[in-house]
């Protein structure tokens, strides 16, 4: 993705406002739509049923085909996009027709149907309002459910004026009425109608179409021939599974309890001479369904929620964040539907915050699939040296970091912080200042020792960033854990957790790092392995067992380590004596003498480790602070590890949103549980001249315990 294209979207003030407003409105509407519905139970059921369906895909296709043909419909199975296009052209030609009137179908966009038909003399008319706007503009949808979200009313007025030959003012009700009037003749004159379908049922051969505008009913009713173009993954066994899709889709897509129209269509009901053709599109789906690593991507019901909550989509929109299918799942499906060459660049755009996983209607591990797909992309020049040679060699890596302490000297400004970097690295400091690499990393400040007491034993795994940039945070961690009664040991041979390599698709290096750290961290018998970086936690706890699944000895070690890994707040929360820690409680608000702070949830702590209550418990119960929550407290800060190096211009915008929400709380302290978030947020606050301090929970605990 070129930086100019990205910058272009960032500078598009209408797009930015539209997406920002949507990002704010969507969670509210969604929550209201799901009132009284157990979302977790619903999506678990969908995931399970879809999994089963994917395993039985050839059988389901055969059953659906037989049922649909019993109703009199003709079913065409098409392996490749060109097959589907040719079949549809043939159907249209066999009717002596040259005018296709269409309702919305992403499958049509997927196979670029309109261009092909138009080139073969068939006029195509999109009747979904958003799709019509896109068709008139000659663009592609920037959202799966709201295709024209990037267009403002002025754009639409201009397009409609040109299309209708009459002057259209930028007035939305007027424009909608204009579309109604203009497209009406298309419904009445269209010789062939085309729709997609949201779900197809194998037992009855019926389709269900979920729409809002009423055009779906018209294109399936008025023309004498109806073609439904459907991806084979939409087939479910029966109404039982279909109901769950119908229940979840409108709520998750647009925050509607149900759309205006859910149409069930079985066979042709158009009277004499009316035909129903069902074109089943494979285009890689059969192979994907059988793929053990990525098959779950086909559980997708195409609600678009992954885009709705994505902090990167919110900044750049779907023309950057996706190909034909946009949002998180778009990144995953693109290599399978359109080829890896179309996917390479967009796969790098995910920041890894996992917001999409939290809302996915089919419980797909979207972020995990994106990371795994990066293994398959071509690696940039230099990356292989960086990860393959340097990171794997701990001494070389740490020597390089030490050398960086000297190299950065000329760049440091007041207070030692770095505000500009030379040449191409300068973008890294855009919108924020950077902390310097410490003169002495934590590993040089601490004595190597072995466990010697009867206390509970903690192995401290600091992570590189804290070690080399925030050694005082590491000291605070060790000191506070000791004050809380633990014996703490820092094994000096610990090395990078391997996440930067894994996120860059260097899986072999990530595996090496996993083995190295497993040997170091299991060398002494500890009760807990404590991290102060949730990204390291994820790596140690979840990624190591996954990466080493095929190596029985190391996999056993990885499982053993995983059981001992705790985030700092997770462990410390256990030490809170609620009877004595809460005397000032009752009503936390406005308690005399309590420091008011706000708390930023790190993506990897909340959605990677499921930890979000514990830090708050520690901050109120142990530190004695009062928390004033910010808007979107669990939304990404824009750091994303090496992401802010790859896409500094996007990371900066994500950060600005965070800074705005922090400032609005009026507090003077931001607590975080991640050194990366700390670096990002304190740099952003400093750059805008906001006088707030950012502290890791471990430092706040240490300060509080020191005060006694």
């Amino acid at each position: 993705m070129s930086n100019a294209t990205i910058q272009n979207k960032i500078n598009d003030t209408f797009l930015r406002r539209a997406l920002k407003n949507f990002a704010a409105a969507y969670p509210v509407a969604r929550a209201k739509a799901f009132e009284g519905v157990d979302f977790e139970a619903l999506r678990s059921r969908i995931a399970q049923n879809k999994q089963i369906a994917l395993q039985q895909m050839p059988d389901l296709i055969a059953r659906f085909t037989a049922s649909a043909e019993r109703t009199g419909a003709k079913v065409h199975f098409c392996r490749r996009p060109e097959d589907a296009r040719a079949v549809m052209l043939e159907i249209i030609r066999s009717k002596g027709a040259d005018f296709l009137v269409k309702s919305k179908a992403m499958t049509s966009e997927e196979i670029d149907l309109n261009h092909y038909l138009e080139a073969n003399g068939v006029r195509c008319l999109e009747t979904d309002l958003g799709e019509w706007i896109i068709q008139l503009a000659g663009e592609r949808p920037s959202h799966m459910v709201m295709p024209a979200i990037h267009k403002n009313k002025e754009d639409v007025a201009e397009l409609f004026s040109k299309a209708t030959g009459s002057d259209c003012p930028p007035d939305i009700p007027f424009l909608v009425q204009k579309a109604r009037e203009t497209l009406r003749s298309g419904f009445l004159e269209g010789q062939v109608g085309m729709s997609g379908a949201n779900v197809a049922m194998a037992d009855s051969g019926a389709l269900a179409i979920i729409t809002n505008e009423g055009n779906g009913r018209l294109v399936t009713t008025l023309p004498r021939t109806h073609i439904a173009l459907i991806g084979v993954e939409k087939i479910v066994p029966s109404m039982t599974e279909a109901l769950d899709v119908i229940e979840v889709l409108p709520k998750n897509a647009t925050g509607q309890k149900l759309t205006s129209y859910v149409s069930f269509i079985k066979g042709s009901t158009g009277g004499d001479g009316h035909e129903l053709h069902i074109v089943l599109l494979d285009n890689g789906r059969m192979d994907l369904a059988a793929n053990p690593d990525f098959g779950q991507a086909l559980q997708c019901v195409k609600c678009g929620a992954c885009a709705n909550v994505c902090p990167i989509y919110e900044i750049v929109g779907g023309h950057v964040f996706g190909h034909i299918y946009v949002g998180g799942i778009g990144l995953v499906l693109t290599p399978f539907f359109h080829g890896m060459d179309k996917a390479e660049e967009i796969l790098k755009l995910c920041i890894g915050c996992r917001k999409c996983n939290e809302v996915c209607a089919a419980k797909i591990d979207i972020e995990g699939l994106i990371v795994d797909l990066r293994d398959k992309i071509r690696k940039p020049f230099g990356q292989t040296f960086m990860f393959g040679t340097m990171m794997k060699n701990r001494t070389l890596f740490h020597t390089t970091l030490r050398a960086a302490y000297l190299a950065q000297k000329p760049l440091q400004g007041d207070g030692g912080r770095i505000r500009h970097l030379p040449l191409m690295f300068d973008a890294l400091a855009a919108g924020k200042s950077l902390p310097p690499i410490a003169e002495k990393p934590y590993r040089d400040l601490v004595q190597e020792k072995r466990f010697s007491s009867q206390k509970e034993r903690v192995l401290f795994y600091s992570g590189c960033l804290a070690d080399f940039v925030y050694p005082e945070l590491c000291m605070d961690t060790a000191e506070s854990l000791e004050r809380l009664g633990y014996e703490v040991v820092f094994p000096k041979k610990q090395s990078c957790c391997g996440i930067p390599a894994r996120y860059s698709g260097e899986m072999d290096v990530a595996r090496d790092m996993a083995r190295i750290n497993l040997d170091v961290l299991l060398e002494q018998e500890a009760d807990y392995v404590v991290t102060i970086c949730p990204t390291c936690s994820i790596s140690l706890k979840h990624d190591f067992p996954k990466l080493l699944a095929k190596e029985s000895d190391y996999h056993a070690k990885a499982e053993k380590l995983a059981a001992k890994v705790f985030n700092y707040s997770e462990l410390v929360a256990r030490k809170i004596d609620f009877d004595s820690a809460q005397p000032t409680d009752g009503s936390l608000s406005g308690v005399e003498g309590r420091t008011i702070i706000t708390y930023h949830d790190s993506c990897h702590l909340k959605r990677g480790c499921g930890v979000f209550e514990e830090p708050r418990t520690v901050l109120t119960g142990l530190v004695g602070a009062q928390i004033r929550e910010m808007t979107d407290c669990d939304k990404c800060c824009g750091f994303g590890g090496s992401y802010s190096l790859k896409y500094p211009e996007i990371a900066r915008e994500v950060l600005l949103n965070k800074i705005e929400n922090i400032k609005a709380t009026g507090t003077t302290t931001v607590a975080v549980d991640c050194p990366g978030c700390r670096m990002q947020i304190e740099g952003g606050l400093e750059a805008v001249g906001a006088n707030l301090r950012v502290e890791h929970t471990a430092s706040l605990v240490a300060q509080s315990l020191r005060r006694g």
Partner: protein, 169 residues
Amino acid sequence: MCDRFRLAAEAVGAVIKHFSCIGEARDYLMGIAGGGAVSCSTLPTHLRDALAIDASGTAVPADAVLCISRAEAGIAATGSLLIDLKGPEGRAATALAPIHAVFLDPTTIVPTLYDLGERLNRMLTSGDQAYFSLTTGPSRTADIERVLTIGVHGPIELHILMIEGCCHE
């Protein structure tokens, strides 16, 4: 249940009216039609008779101002109507006419979509062909600047006429 249905249907822009007999409903319908053409080809004969609209008075779908249908059932959670649309002419009218009025027997309202599951399944598995719809409020779009606008291709108004026993002949 009836109140929950009303709240949900009104929240999506439907108009709900209660009538004690077909005669009252007839006056209301003639009022909203405002003298325009009426299509009621999906309406069961006994309701058509009771409304005193004979077949010759039924407009072609594209010309109708008002389309009158009957719901098989309602869903309280979403304010939705289950309408059988197997006949192509009546189906076209439900989407083409700017006003859609639907009779609903309040005793047929069920709590959620799932409570209709068995019935929907029966409608699909019996008979060779079927076309039916869950209709929730009037036609809508938010495709321009996400501004909710009622009435794009389908009806601009949806009136739900509640009469107990109106499903029975």
